[in-house]
Symmetry: D2
Subunit: 145 residues, 4 copies
């Protein structure tokens, strides 16, 4: 399976179909089945104790996997998250968090991948997530995208 | 294990230690190992398509489990979510979502439970979640709380 | 959605298509979206320490969900497990374990449910599991089954 | 954190405390926070259709994570699996399956890691799993091991 979209093409597509969705995110790198996405720090992500909130990390995981998936299946806004599991490993520092997404499978119905998340400059991940996307049936026709 | 806090006591405690955290939530009912928590609809929870965002549902799951746990272990702000897994089952309508949390175990290290979430008035759940909380070691002394 | 198969019909079907698969299991009760399945104790399920092995409990979770699903979709051997998550809560005693499966959704692509497992006679569960089955596309035609 | 045990030392320890547990497994490589474990093919692992059963893959995931953990915490038989989530990605062929375990965190209470599993000779994984182990409190004393 070859890559269909580059990082700038994905950013442009997401800004077009979901205006504002990429405000907090930077797509730093996309290669086949992989994406690196940065979540830019903002104070509203903080929870008591000065750490970044769980829902913010979940959003990064979801976005990272989605970017990696769009790179492979093309301009396709209809995929939806069907499952997301996250382990919170270490308190994330109040700064940017970088997510490394890896897709393990793109099937007819489902795409499955993992996202490792790191506070900028840290060697150990602050969280890991598994994400499953349901892919719209239209994709069964390989000429559609 | 007996219940230590009532719904109003939990609301008061959360407003005290995490001001603002319960703005969107109403604790509707608490019984031993169970809690029912309502997430009040607000437009900022919406995502494109008019459905309630995944991170909002995750926050409801996390809050529902936390409320059920506080009812049992008492005024204890230090428990932290270590794992959250959510299945998105049906598009949640743009209205209140009610979460029914059930705790399956409160051990020395971990508490494990499930949360079923329903758009108000619906019979089928829009999401289900499993949540694990890490419990601070101070609880090993049963006289602490 | 109405129930299509009774407990004896499911047992007969499974013995027919997967001979031996129900040797260790008894379908005790089936109602719409629910199944109760007993895993009969056998020494080969034990692991060091005298508890029932994790893979045995996973097999019970998988079987319980499958039975509940077959009751609803009918004689359909092709569904396959796509995801299984299990929390081990308490040491299961060396005796029968009973699984209570509840389906939360049967969609076109996926069926999602939970299974609570109890050592016979215990009030607290020894394990809980979430199970997702991928449903074959043939089911898109509602007249097939 | 440095590695405490080599692959042969782990094999010897497991054969000593859980005789027979490694019959089907070969520890091929252990480095800090990583382990590669081979599950040797045996016909009893097959399920109808000629694929390796889900519980067999779960056992590989559990074993792979356990080996990686023992390498780091030393001769410690008491850790128990508290959570295991597995995604079945592709039908595993009727031959050896190799599991690559990576530990993301070893904390005071929990160790969390992932295991990617490949049928021998395949480039795409047949399954991925996340595994959490509960670590006995005795480990709180760093001189114990």
């Amino acid at each position: 399976m070859r890559q269909r979209l580059t990082a700038p093409e994905i950013t442009a597509f997401l800004n077009e179909v979901f205006p504002g969705s990429m405000e907090r995110f930077r797509i730093e790198d996309v290669t086949p089945m992989h994406a690196r996405v940065r979540m830019v720090f903002n104070e509203f992500q903080l929870r008591p104790g000065g750490t970044i909130s769980g829902p913010s990390l979940m959003t990064l995981a979801d976005t990272g996997m989605w970017v990696a998936l769009l790179a492979m299946i093309g301009r396709e806004p209809l995929s939806v998250t069907s499952h997301l599991a996250i382990d919170f490993l270490r308190k994330p520092e109040p700064r940017d968090v970088i997510g490394f997404a890896t897709i393990h499978k793109i099937g007819r119905k489902l795409a499955v991948g993992d996202v490792l998340m790191y506070s900028e400059g840290e060697e150990a991940p602050c969280a890991r997530a598994s994400v499953t996307y349901a892919i719209p049936s239209v994709r069964l026709d390989p000429d559609v995208n």
